[in-house]
Symmetry: C2
Subunit: 284 residues, 2 copies
């Protein structure tokens, strides 16, 4: 029996002098899928139902960018530099083609990576994210900023940021919180310096460009699956629609009564959708 | 072996003095799903891959509204009256709960029906459609109007109206056209009077209301699946996003490189998505 989300060891690999932390588990064959994490998140900020669900048919690789949680190096303060670290890491693993799932900030990095290294990426899943200079992405609301920058993020912060206020969504959030803490040896928290560097990168990515808004999305040639909740208060959901309308071959799925963390709220359904996407013909 | 899309006979049932044409096939148990058709379409304007795919797990019922194709009676010229005919028909069949798939005009009728008879409907699929008074729904462009009103609609008209101009989408459209004509005894075409009445209903539904735009969508309590292509030139795709944002429990799926007939272009993938939706828990 192969490793699972909760049993696989944390591994380290050297790339360009940086010791990147990652975990790898699941099937031994198939195109590996690399998970790129949200603001401040480490290796445990994923839903084991999603990662183990996708790992049935392919290797799953969870990754901490430089200076984030257990990874070494200095945290990057631009999305472009974060994408360079991902490329260095994938090269260090000796992989020549991967799928990528990018969540929130990780979705910004995924877009940058696919634009710069198109031959490396087979398919892309963008969750709870948006294009460079998207709608309402230049700043968090004060309430979001407060919840997102707590020294020790608590369940209440995630319930506010990732789920809708409804009873079913909040209950799904608490269930996710249990699953996400089921692993014994949890990753270390990200530093204050990592948070500050990432906040700089997010603000920079969110600024509306003077011209050519959304133009670079047309250069993404891969099949892309865009998913989000109906009411994302961190990256407004309309940005998922905008991504789908501008990327030449993108499918959009928006889930009901949910927010930024919709793919954790609907973990089984999302996993089914993601597997259909990853396994479909190129024209599907 | 049960009937299929191509082998099941056309049946007629009397409701309120009108002889409604329909076809019923598929599994004998499960919540029946009633298909409501687009502008001018009859019993053959569906994709057998979709109807037979869904019929594996439930009865499928295709229906011609009053005065449309082989149905008797006068064609209704309001969406509200069309919904009354659907209700009369479902009552005549003795069904107390159904799922509904409404395509384009059929999606307008499905929304009206669920608002007026909420206890009758379990789940709703809205394909290539939009809300009352949606964006760009008050008139067809001249090119769309020309293709949509030909005396004898030809493959070129459907390729233009239902598919994107790309080579893969046009090829998918031609494959659909073959499938849709595979049945030997095709339904009769709709009359000119039916077209005129439906055009009146569509223009009326598309007019932007003076106040309360989209308000009635909040009263739909059922789980809803909204699907469309990325670039629908008949009912602009943004209306699918609007439906999802205003209906309390709606999932949105937009397919890439496709138009009004996206769920025929991606018939297998759509069938998988629809089955996941129809079979999921109420909170999924």
């Amino acid at each position: 029996m192969s490793d699972t989300h909760n049993t696989t060891p944390t591994r380290f690999i050297d790339g360009g002098g940086i010791k990147y932390a990652y975990r790898r588990f699941g099937a031994s064959s198939g195109t590996p899928i690399v998970f790129l994490q949200h603001f401040r998140g480490g290796l445990d900020n994923w839903d084991p139902l999603v990662t183990d669900g996708l790992a049935k048919d392919r290797p799953v690789i969870l990754f901490n960018n430089a200076g984030v949680a257990s990874s070494g190096g200095e945290p990057a303060n631009t999305v472009a530099d974060m994408a360079k670290h991902v490329l260095t890491f994938i090269n260090a693993l000796g992989l020549t083609q991967v799928d990528v799932l990018g969540f929130s900030l990780g979705g910004f990095v995924a877009q940058q990576l696919v634009l710069e290294s198109p031959n490396l990426i087979r398919r892309l899943i963008l969750a709870g994210t948006g294009p460079q200079g998207g709608e309402g992405m230049d700043a968090f609301t004060p309430a979001v900023a407060q919840h997102a920058t707590q020294a020790i993020p608590a369940v209440e912060n995630f319930l506010y940021l990732f789920f809708s206020p409804s009873t079913p969504s909040q209950a799904a959030g608490r269930a996710f919180w249990q699953r996400r803490h089921a692993r014994a040896d949890q990753d270390v928290p990200s530093s204050r310096a990592a948070m500050d560097a990432q906040a700089t990168a997010i603000a920079d990515w969110g600024a509306v460009p003077k011209f050519g808004r959304y133009e670079q999305l047309k250069r993404i040639r891969q099949p892309v699956l865009v998913v989000n909740g109906r009411d994302d208060i961190m990256v407004p959901s309309v940005n998922s629609f905008i991504l789908q309308q501008h990327i030449p071959h993108a499918t959009l799925i928006l889930y009901p009564d949910s927010g930024h963390g919709a793919f954790f709220q609907y973990s089984d359904l999302f996993t089914s959708h993601a597997r259909l996407f990853l396994e479909s013909d190129a024209t599907d």
